[in-house]
């Protein structure tokens, strides 16, 4: 396999994604017809994600980086179990960069984009000319010297990777979440509006989605930010409403809101909520449903709060590089770092989740 052919196959995947993105293409129509049902997201959320967060225009430099992040294998098996609906694009790109032969098991709950991309690639002469083959299966059966890319919760990864043959190279991508840092010198209204853009996409279900906001300073400043964020999130409710919530999620939201009402403040609208703990002793993970947990923090006390959670932190959004941001980034050196408002637009340069992607040489 040459680097050039790997790169060419990745471009084939990107071009397939452009067809899914295009509302006038048959694949784009199919996506828009099926995704609301399988994801529970609203039409507006799906359109937003397809338009602004489907990585259909990477740079050559990004593609080179993505290809370089892989190691060649005879075949690459991909298991997609829990991801945001756009994730198959990057997963398949990494797969075709790893091997000419790709076998993919789509998410059982949300197979749409995988199916559409595979359909497009199956009919792509250029992909075939570059040696590419791709098939969808119900169950992957990697053999020695094959690669296995697994996406999902820790439990599902463990279940899938248990009992693999010797020599299978496993790349596991677990679940995680993003945190936002509101530095001491930034304008809270401005960053609240920016952060709302990161929260709304995928209804906060992505591993880059910010779930906790650390506001540098005292409780008063944190409250000011929380209120600004509440207003910013409310402004999305009309143009991009939140999707369907199951009973379990509604229960988690009730528990979280009750907890916040007891220890601090809780503001909510039809499509979002913001909780404030003005004197945090520990952190709370709010349910992933456009709900942000806001706490005041500073460089000297944030370590105690963050330490127990640090292995889950996939992304950090910040608009400065001092004080609190430095303290958090020191603890999460592998997290993706972006400006607030851009946390959901990671460079197309490898796996989204860079927290030391687990690579096991299964031998």
């Amino acid at each position: 396999m040459t680097i050039d052919s790997a790169r060419a196959r990745v471009w084939c995947v990107v071009r397939a994604a452009r067809r899914v993105q295009d509302a006038s293409d048959e694949l784009g129509k199919d996506a828009r017809a099926r995704l609301p049902h399988v994801t529970g997201l609203t039409d507006e959320s799906i359109e937003l994600a397809l338009r602004d967060h489907f990585e259909t225009h990477p740079t050559d430099e990004e593609i080179d980086a993505l290809v370089s992040s892989t190691t060649h294998a005879v075949a690459c098996h991909i298991v997609l179990s829990a991801n945001v609906f756009t994730a198959p694009l990057r997963a398949l790109a990494l797969g075709v960069a790893t091997s000419e032969r790709v076998i993919v098991r789509p998410s059982r709950r949300d197979p749409v984009v995988t199916e559409l991309l595979v359909r497009a690639l199956a009919g792509d002469a250029e992909f075939a000319a570059q040696g590419g083959t791709i098939e969808m299966v119900e169950r992957v059966r990697p053999e020695s010297s094959h690669a296995l890319h697994v996406y999902g919760s820790d439990d599902s990864i463990e279940a899938i990777t248990k009992g693999l043959p010797l020599g299978v190279v496993v790349r596991a991508h677990g679940t995680g979440f993003g945190v936002a840092v509101v530095g001491v010198d930034v304008d809270v209204d401005h960053v609240a509006e920016a952060l709302s853009r990161d929260v709304v996409v995928f209804d906060q279900r992505g591993c880059l989605s910010p779930r906790i906001a650390f506001v540098e300073g005292d409780a008063l400043r944190a409250e000011k930010f929380a209120l600004a964020l509440h207003e910013a999130l409310a402004s999305w409710s009309e143009r991009c409403p939140r999707g369907v919530m199951d009973a379990g999620l509604l229960g988690e939201i009730s528990q979280y809101s009750a907890t916040m009402q007891a220890i601090g403040s809780y503001w909510f609208g039809t499509s979002h909520a913001v909780g404030l703990d003005p004197a945090p002793r520990a952190l709370v993970l709010a349910p992933a449903a456009r709900i942000v947990h806001v706490v005041p923090a500073n460089a000297s006390n944030v370590a105690t709060l963050v330490a127990p959670w640090i292995r889950y932190v996939t992304a950090v959004g910040t608009n400065d590089d001092q004080g609190l941001s430095v303290a958090i980034l020191r603890m999460a050196p592998l997290a993706r770092v972006s400006r607030l408002g851009f946390m959901q637009r990671p460079r197309f340069d490898g796996p989204v989740d860079r927290r030391g992607t687990r690579v096991d040489e299964n031998c």
Binding site: N83, Q261, I263, L283
Partner: protein, 373 residues
């Protein structure tokens, strides 16, 4: 009255209530006492006051303790839940979750343990040893000296003092000493003295997994109290399977293996009524495994998972407790445990269903599974 005087007065009322109600009598209405405690706590526990206000609680118009806003159990790890200041703590019980760090553990500060002790002993005497007052006690859990902040170890030590002819602690530094257990069992058998075995579910799993050929059959009249889940410390075993194996290994009827349900945030416990019923002390007690019986000073309701309002008896929801013995913390606690309350008792169905994982963002449930909360 000062805070301390009011607290003491309420403790006294609760202790009288416990002593009377355990024998079927009543000193006053449960609801009146619960509401007086809640009013006192609202004045001195800011989180309880804020929550009551947010839920629109109006004590003036309230006559039913079901109207008290039950504080979510998670709040115990995020704020101090006590009417008194830390310098007045006689003891602080902490939850065992460790993966989120020591600071994130739930805390239940106790200004006095007197009411807790009375409540725990009165109900244990009724449900665990209504027929006898002396046992060789085998403890399959750390002692309170080893884990000072464990309410379970504190309670077990209390039981040992109450009925322990002798006591052998078999878990030290997380290791279960089965050879020592075999010697202690042999000694009890030679003296034909009944044994009370107190332990955690995961310790009992280690017992059934590693007992080998040891003879652990207990003398007549012996019994077991089993508590807690597995929390990743042993393999998961279905309750009926664990009970069946313990019954065989220890030579006990299954009725004599009693499940206990308790939590750090409460001062009272529930037990399966199988032993009390089998021994003929179970008037009005359901003698069925999986059904937990609350003492008269602990009222249990299932709450709607979304509105958190109490549901009618017989409906499944998240369990909420009004525990009169929680005088200096909060009298009403909302858990995330799913269950159903009937006239027979409380059936437990595990944790409330979590949100379906629809993306790659970390699920709240993942943290719970990791023992984080």
């Amino acid at each position: 009255m000062t805070l301390r005087q009011t607290s003491e007065s309420l403790h006294l009322r609760v202790r009288r209530f416990i002593e009377a109600s355990v024998d079927g009598a009543a000193t006053e209405r449960f609801d009146d006492l619960a509401l007086d405690i809640a009013r006192f706590q609202t004045t001195h526990v800011p989180a309880f006051a804020r929550y009551g206000k947010a839920r629109g609680v109006d004590f003036d118009a309230m006559a039913d303790a079901r109207g008290i806003a039950a504080l979510p159990v998670d709040v115990f790890r995020l704020a101090r839940i006590a009417v008194h200041t830390p310098d007045r703590d006689e003891r602080v019980f902490r939850t065992s979750g460790t993966s989120q760090g020591k600071e994130a553990r739930g805390e239940h500060p106790m200004r006095t343990t007197a009411t807790y002790e009375l409540a725990a002993l009165c109900w244990a005497r009724r449900m665990l040893w209504p027929d006898a007052r002396s046992f060789d006690v085998l403890v399959l859990a750390p002692s309170a000296a080893e884990v000072m902040d464990s309410s379970l170890s504190f309670m077990i030590d209390m039981f040992v003092r109450d009925v322990g002819h002798s006591a052998t602690y078999l878990v030290q530094e997380h290791v279960l000493d089965l050879d020592r257990m075999e010697r202690a069992v042999g000694d009890a058998v030679r003296r034909d003295h009944p044994v009370l075995v107190l332990g955690t579910s995961f310790a009992f799993v280690h017992l059934i997994d590693h007992v080998g050929g040891r003879d652990m059959r207990l003398p007549l009249g012996s019994r077991v109290m089993q508590t807690g889940g597995f929390k990743g410390r042993s393999r998961e075993v279905r309750p009926e399977e664990l009970r069946g194996k313990l019954s065989t290994i220890l030579g006990l009827p299954e009725t004599h293996i009693v499940g206990e349900y308790g939590m750090t945030e409460l001062s009272s416990q529930l037990y399966e009524g199988t032993l009390a019923a089998a021994l003929g002390f179970g008037a009005g007690v359901e003698g069925r495994h999986g059904v937990y019986v609350a003492p008269p000073w602990l009222r249990v309701d299932a709450a709607d998972p979304v509105t958190l309002e109490p549901l009618p008896h017989g409906q499944t929801g998240m369990l909420r407790f009004v525990d009169l013995a929680n005088v200096d913390s909060v009298v009403a606690v909302q858990t995330m445990d799913l269950g159903r309350v009937t006239d027979a008792g409380v059936e437990l169905f595990g944790r409330a269903p979590s949100a379906m994982l629809r993306g790659c963002s970390l699920a709240v449930e993942d943290l719970l599974v990791a023992g984080g909360l």
